[in-house]
Symmetry: C2
Subunit: 489 residues, 2 copies
Amino acid sequence: MYHPETTPAKAGAATVTPHETFRYHHVEQQILAMIESGRFAAGDRLPSLRSLCSSMGVSLATVNHAYMELERKGIIEARPRSGYFVRKPGVPLPLPVTEQSTPEIGEENRTNLIQMVLEAVGNKNLISFGCVTPDPALLPGKALARIMQDVTRLSTYDSLSYEVIQGNPELRRQIAWRGQELGLAVQSEDVLITVGTMEALHITLRALTHPGDSVVIQSPTYFCLVQLLENLGLRAIEVPSSPEHGISPAALHEAITKFDVAACILSPNFNNPDGSLMPDEAKREIVDMLARRGVPLVEDDVAGDVHFGPSRPTPLKSFDRKDNVTLCSSFSKTIAPGYRCGWMLPGKIMRKALEIKATTNVCCASPTQMVVAEFLRQGLYERHLKRLRVATERQMQTIQHHLATYFPEGTGVTRPKGGGFLWVSLPEKVDSVQLFKEAKSQGILISPGPIFTTRDQFRNYIRLSCCGVWHERMEHGLKVLGTLAGELA
Amino acid sequence: MYHPETTPAKAGAATVTPHETFRYHHVEQQILAMIESGRFAAGDRLPSLRSLCSSMGVSLATVNHAYMELERKGIIEARPRSGYFVRKPGVPLPLPVTEQSTPEIGEENRTNLIQMVLEAVGNKNLISFGCVTPDPALLPGKALARIMQDVTRLSTYDSLSYEVIQGNPELRRQIAWRGQELGLAVQSEDVLITVGTMEALHITLRALTHPGDSVVIQSPTYFCLVQLLENLGLRAIEVPSSPEHGISPAALHEAITKFDVAACILSPNFNNPDGSLMPDEAKREIVDMLARRGVPLVEDDVAGDVHFGPSRPTPLKSFDRKDNVTLCSSFSKTIAPGYRCGWMLPGKIMRKALEIKATTNVCCASPTQMVVAEFLRQGLYERHLKRLRVATERQMQTIQHHLATYFPEGTGVTRPKGGGFLWVSLPEKVDSVQLFKEAKSQGILISPGPIFTTRDQFRNYIRLSCCGVWHERMEHGLKVLGTLAGELA
């Protein structure tokens, strides 16, 4: 059976079976809900272990484990001979308000800012809420290392050689099978392997657009996408995204009517940064509308596999009957960012996409493709995802709790149903770029709102990554952030 | 000590020590030279083992080994109780004539042709003289597998995580050290890691040019570069390259005087496909000339490490005093194509290059970067290169010999001092595209001349890759190619 790495940060969970993990997590969530509902305020004594055991119908060990976890996260505290007490108030923050943006494109050194955020990619010395990179402790490192050993020993020659440009056939087969489970009519020959989702988006935009073209994006949107558009000389038409439902078909309709648009890029499932999830009805309407208008739809579905609800949200591509949607995704947020293993379903632009792939970098690295293919083939992915989803949701709840404790009044935060990041609105006066700089000088990384747009908006927003493993430095980081935000407010 | 893989194809060499390898190779070369000089014609009996032992001052085993190798390659044959005989005439072919091109740009479905050649990348069922991909048997597969195991086990977290955008620091340090040995004033912070040389060229051109710009290239040049220019909407200004000296400073001067040129891309060391090596004096003159004119110089030095002469040819960058040269290279032709480990020295365009890298694919795969870094750090690269150079030179000589045997009169072939490919001029009437198609239908892959240019030229040229390990199917392949060429002539 596969076990993820154990680290000092999650040592408390080291001896627990997977089944047990889910049980104490459930108990932990219920206690947290009681605190957040206001039933227990700061300083209140929590129910004894024994009384919770009987009321929840779980073992003493499970309740004990949940209490220890909450204590480790700084949410409750143990007092000798007295039991557990709520450490801090836990009134949840309101949702952020969807901002009305000014139509002017603000320059504001966005490129510089993005560069500063990106410089921290791979920097292990920062307390990072900046980049959406799963903590390696949550990734299946042991299984991957074992498979890598088999691959490089048993298929040495293949691991050294160029892969076919389209990508490892077994990996494409596995991706196609997963796609079929989501209702996509996809075969291995429809898949193109890319260096992460970013390359999939890069190839798609180069195939569909020319410099000077206009492209619809969600607002806010992933900052690397903003930078990609700039790099390719494309103009962004921003359609407002609400943290709850993403963009509305009506707003999109207005944009494509008003502007001559070469493509539309949407992230329907847990849009980065606002975490919005588009309802299926809106997905269908948007897919049909764009097909009728002949506007190609580019779907970024990189976060879709990390859902907290029971079922995997549907990709836009599932509603595509006219081969008008190019689906882009990767295993960077789930299996291993460093493997650079992305993929796309180019549909009718396959030929052009292959040409661009060949002249951008010929093909992807062979060993990492082979390992991911084998990881999927052995059926390890779903099992791994189950744990990753639980861990991400817990991390998000923990951060939300501490935001309520440490951040100034007037702060709002999203409640995403998946993904791995929170979109936080600070009191209006707070300049998030200023906050970003001051936090960085103290070794804490966040992503400031203005980099998620080409316009002058989201100045008081920040994005916080929640795909780490909780440790005490993080509470310190959030406390410092909250204090700084309070000073700037 | 490191030993490369042994395979059925090179089983004869399996029990030989490295020192011994070089000795019998030397004897083999001398016998081949005697045959090619005409001293021994087809059917002639070669000197006895004993007489060669004493005349060359080597052991009986060494001469025996050399004879067995030449027999395996179909150049000589053993007759029972009689000794070794020359199987085929071996008069070497003349050099190709540098063609005068017509200035019109021929369309001719070049893109389709390139696609057909590239489709074969990674296809193991063809007898491939098509792609310049070292045979995995010549690559340090065992050492890499061993290091990969250490890396994924001992540095699991690093191997899973994003690398910094610029690339693995240890790998950059190793590349900088190698650069310093070649006289470059380079530090690790000057290096950017890329997905092969192709990505380095892609990033450089995107940083230096805009669609519609003109770019000077050598003629003939690597076909993926031709396709890259087309993809980026750039116009190619072709300056003729001679198989001996590459392009001349005078011809380049004329081109940059006549046209408004945004950049100049040269491959001074074993230009693909003509294998030309630019003399140092011309290198210096060209670097100075372009710096004076303010035309950025892009150097593709991917083949420079595979030299047959005693010293590594100098990169153009060594003569660069004005930070006007961007050097692009990789380990794809030496360590492992499938590791997609390239690099560049962007110089003053570093910032822009990082921006493009971030929006093309964020960063390269971590495990492969870590393994190549460690391979270099352990000092295994130079030792490996020594063997690779010997093997490539031998393969080239063997192919040259068989060309002389099987190809029609009027065929010419280059004598490169490194690289791993031959540029073959066929009799004028031979349509190499036709030859390519007929050969492909028989499972043999070559690269037809017209894909190495944007003009209507090299119709009777083909490029043959020589970075394989000799096996009998190859002789069959060359025989079929020669017969087809004879029929088309």
